[in-house]
């Protein structure tokens, strides 16, 4: 008889005890059992095993099963609440796939982290630029037509610049220390200075025709400088060149330099009577009667730098505006279309406005606080010191009757903007 292996023997014996063998298989097994002791032992063990399994302890009937089961049946089935877009049996597969994808993404992100960081930084910068450009473009307007000769003189002598025809809102520059400036922008009826006209000036100082011509040219240049140094917009947005206060300082000394000493005395009286921020040293410096005097007028704004101030934020920025081109277009269009001046200016500023660089490397504002009507900002700007040698006539800050309360630190500019005054009055 062909010898069978253990596996075959086990299978035959297993079916033997279950009575599942065919006639041939039965004969084969009986023959095997009669000859093979190990087969007999295996059969015995299999029978014992079967007996053990049959006699395995059974659970007793559970009479409370239905009661518990009926409670479960009444509960809403959790499995029915499958919110997944695939069958529950695919959860392990999908979880594994998601984990693999996550790992791949993490690896890719890690490998390209520098590029990604740069990309997002660049994009966020672009978004900021677009936002700020859109916010500022067409809103900030130069003070064209608002700075006539009288106002240029007013600013030159007293550091105040009326914004509207009624002189209710004005910008005031006031030096409080050798290195610091205070600039107030807003409506302040109590401290409002009395406007001085050019005629009033002529009547007081009595310049010669040559002196008058020279001062007239100086004031014309000052107007241009002021126009390019102060931009005012709606929503209380103001942009001022950081070195703007120097125009006031230099104009006082330049106008004094054009005058004879006795005329300077008259000028000093006028300044004192109107509580001007500077006092002039009457005897210092010679009289200048040529065009050389124009060279000392500061170029403003230096490097197109502006401090942009809104009620929410304050930032330094470089704004490129071609004022000469703008002024020319203004004149042409004003004649051609007879548009309202403000509307036209807005249109043109939208085209001309170009922001060159954000974040001019000045230190950030150190303090910003305020309320609904008044806010003060203290900022630090680099020293825009004027060389004393450039002063044809020495001037110094006046000890004034009307001392403006200040906590301004040295080397700072404080902006006080009274809301709802500048822009609304300006747009009338």
């Amino acid at each position: 008889m062909k010898k069978i292996n253990e596996k075959q023997m086990d299978q035959l014996l297993s079916q033997y005890i279950d009575g599942r063998l065919t006639e041939n298989e039965l004969q084969k097994v009986e023959s095997l059992l009669s000859q093979d002791m190990s087969a007999q032992r295996r059969l015995k063990e299999l029978k014992q095993l079967k007996d053990l399994l049959i006699s395995k302890t059974k659970l007793t009937p559970d009479i409370g099963f239905w009661t518990r089961f009926s409670d479960v049946l009444e509960q809403p089935k959790k499995d029915e609440n499958n919110f997944l877009p695939f069958k529950r049996k695919f959860v392990p597969v999908m979880s594994a796939a998601a984990a693999v994808v996550a790992v791949v993404v993490v690896i890719l992100v890690f490998q390209n982290r520098i590029q990604l960081l740069n990309y997002f930084t660049e994009k966020s910068q672009v978004v900021k630029e677009v936002y700020e450009k859109n916010r500022l473009q067409g809103q900030l307007l130069p003070l064209f037509s608002k700075v006539d000769k009288d106002r240029a003189l007013q600013f030159s002598l007293f550091g105040t610049l009326p914004f509207d025809d009624n002189s209710k809102a004005e910008l005031r520059v006031d030096e409080q220390s050798k290195k610091g400036y205070r600039i107030e922008v807003g409506k302040d009826l109590k401290n409002k200075t009395k406007p001085i006209t050019f005629d009033h000036f002529l009547a007081e100082v009595k310049p010669t025709s040559k002196q008058k011509q020279l001062i007239d040219s100086l004031l014309e240049l000052t107007s241009r400088r002021i126009e390019s140094s102060v931009l005012i917009g709606e929503n209380d947005v103001v942009a001022i060149a950081p070195d703007f206060p120097n125009i006031n300082k230099m104009m006082v000394t330049n106008i004094a330099a054009c005058l004879e000493p006795n005329q300077r005395i008259q000028l000093e009286r006028l300044l004192e009577a109107n509580d001007a921020p500077y006092t002039i040293s009457v005897q210092s410096g010679s009289v200048i009667s040529d065009d050389h005097i124009f060279q000392s007028i500061p170029q403003s704004p230096r490097d197109n730098r502006f401090v942009i101030i809104t009620p929410d934020t304050m930032m330094y920025s470089q704004l490129y505006i071609d004022f000469d081109s703008l002024r020319k277009q203004m004149e042409e269009n004003f004649i051609a279309f007879k548009l309202r001046r403000e509307e036209m200016l807005k249109r043109m500023m939208g085209k001309e406005f170009q922001r060159m660089q954000r974040n001019v490397p000045y230190s950030q504002p150190v303090q910003s606080f305020g309320n609904e009507e008044l806010f003060n900002v203290e900022i630090n700007v680099p020293a825009e010191e004027i060389d004393q040698q450039q002063m044809h006539v020495l001037i110094q800050p006046r000890i004034r009757k009307r001392i403006i309360k200040t906590t301004t630190p040295n080397h700072s500019i404080e902006m006080r903007v009274l809301s709802d005054t500048t822009s609304k009055d300006l747009s009338r």
Partner: protein
């Protein structure tokens, strides 16, 4: 409460019907047709009593169930719960877990019963559900073991060997048999449990496990062979 008299077509003429309060008290409230208030008088009168229902075979009860009276499911559950619980107990050897699994099996059967086509007996059909449920559960446990870095099978074999190494009089035969079964791969374990503990025929096992008859024979043989080796000290003693 006045109960309707039995109809002539039902055999227990001498006993009053027990439908009504008693019959309905066990019915899950969410079932659609458990409320006899929506039935016509004829339907109520045709509904058999508990005594009758309890004596009906599975197929008859299923016919009634499929006819819309889900109340009869109780009889099917009570009739088969012991076998199903024992099957699950033999496979998992976890008394606390058996009830939960058995409930899940009967819920599954309850949901599938309207589609029952009488091609197999109810209990083999129910066994198939239980076996599938057991397979799923064993697979889940295997996955859990994989993620918890456990090697439970090795733990069972170690436990079995430890218990077999004690003096014969100190051995707990039932516990050893259970551990022996636990050490088997699931397809062998389920096959041998169905054959030797539940007493199913080879054909029934093939139907329950949805495989060929030859496969069943092979699995049972392999399972017995493995068990024989695992429990050899115990068998020698016997």
């Amino acid at each position: 409460m006045a109960l309707p008299l039995p109809d002539a077509e039902w055999p227990s003429k001498n006993k009053p019907y027990q439908i009504g309060v008693r019959a309905r008290s066990f019915v899950p409230s969410f079932t659609k047709t458990n409320d006899t208030s929506s039935m016509t008088n004829d339907q109520i009168q045709q509904k058999p009593g508990v005594e009758v229902l309890s004596k009906m075979d599975d197929e008859a009860l299923i016919t009634i169930f499929q006819g819309g009276d889900h109340d009869v499911y109780r009889f099917l559950v009570e009739r088969h719960q012991e076998r199903i619980r024992n099957l699950l107990f033999s496979i998992f050897h976890d008394r606390n877990y058996v009830d939960d699994l058995a409930q899940e099996v009967f819920i599954k059967a309850y949901q599938a019963l309207p589609r029952f086509r009488f091609e197999a007996s109810f209990y083999t059909w129910l066994y198939r559900i239980a076996v599938n449920k057991s397979r799923d559960e064993l697979r889940k446990r295997k996955i859990r073991r994989f993620f918890s870095f456990q090697t439970l099978d090795e733990g069972i074999e170690k436990e079995l060997n430890t218990r077999l190494s004690v003096q014969p009089e100190d051995r707990d035969t039932q516990e050893l048999v259970a551990l022996g079964l636990q050490s088997l791969p699931k397809k062998f374990r389920i096959a041998v449990v169905l054959k030797d503990i539940d007493g199913l025929s080879y054909e029934e096992i093939a139907e329950v496990m949805q495989c060929e008859l030859g496969t069943v024979k092979s699995r049972i043989s392999r399972a017995r062979s493995m068990l024989r080796k695992a429990l050899k000290p115990l068998l020698e003693e016997v």
